[in-house]
């Protein structure tokens, strides 16, 4: 059996326990306050109407600015940063695909309603997206923490 020539001759089992503890500590850091998910949900909801109606471009600018402020605040607050660009775990991938599909369907429906002349269709779709995005935010965080463990 290979000899562990570490600084303190730790056993492999002890090392794995340390790995698990450090991962748990990092996972706990990922927990965001409720207002973060609500804020991100509102921001996404503000971005969506401009996709179907350029009259709401000003709203999407506010949405993008809100995302930037919230993400930067949360990064400084938690001391950890997850860009979402790295290969994700199974749960995170599932939530991301599910959220993207739901938003795509909502935007498509909103676009159709807007084309049919339904007043403020994209605004209503934006409000619906905000609610769902908030829910997905909490789900995404839960999945992220479980995958990290």
């Amino acid at each position: 059996m290979a000899k562990l020539e570490s600084e303190d001759q730790m056993s492999a089992g002890e090392s794995l326990k340390l790995v698990q503890l450090a991962r748990l500590a990092a996972a706990e850091r990922m927990r965001a306050p409720w207002w973060y998910h609500v804020g991100i949900g509102l921001a996404i909801g503000a971005i969506v109407p401009a996709v179907g109606d350029t009259d709401y471009l000003w709203l999407s600018v506010i949405g993008v600015a809100l995302v930037a402020v919230l993400v930067s605040t949360q990064r400084d607050r938690s001391g950890v940063w997850i860009s979402g660009m790295r290969k994700a775990g199974r749960r995170v991938t599932l939530v991301t695909i599910s959220a993207a599909t739901t938003f795509a369907i909502l935007i498509r429906v909103g676009w159709d309603l807007h084309e049919r002349g339904v007043p403020n269709a994209m605004l209503w779709i934006g409000a619906g997206t905000a609610l769902l995005a908030t829910g997905y935010g909490f789900l995404w965080e839960r999945a992220l923490i479980k995958d990290a463990r």
């Binding site: 059996m1 570490s6 303190d8 794995l16 340390l18 991962r23 990092a26």
Partner: protein
């Protein structure tokens, strides 16, 4: 008999192992966050980070936030690969030890 799994001695030291484990689940972590989680001093963490950096496993980025300079640590691609291989080696050793214990009990 199968070949013994190879351990990475740069990573295996307890503090460096924990640094890599923390960084493996995030993109970057702030120096102070890692220091507080490990419960070590700035100088001790700096020493370990330097060793990981010299091995090409960790990279540092500095950013100024509200006039304060903050250092962020992240695993490099080779760092992620080396850490995954190290954990696999540890798991292999645990499995070997279990199999040996089971064999001697029978």
């Amino acid at each position: 008999m199968s070949a013994a799994p190879e351990l990475d001695l740069v990573i295996h030291a307890p503090n460096r192992l924990q640094i890599c484990a923390m960084l493996s689940v995030v993109d970057t972590a702030e120096f102070a966050t890692v220091r507080d989680t490990l419960g070590v001093s700035d100088s001790v963490l700096s020493k370990h980070v330097r060793q990981l950096e010299e091995a090409g496993y960790v990279e540092l980025t500095k950013a100024v936030v509200e006039t304060r300079q903050r250092t962020w640590l992240g695993l490099t691609k080779s760092g992620r690969k080396a850490f995954a291989a190290h954990v696999a080696a540890l798991e292999g050793l645990v499995a070997q030890a279990r199999a040996a214990a089971k064999g001697s009990a029978e």
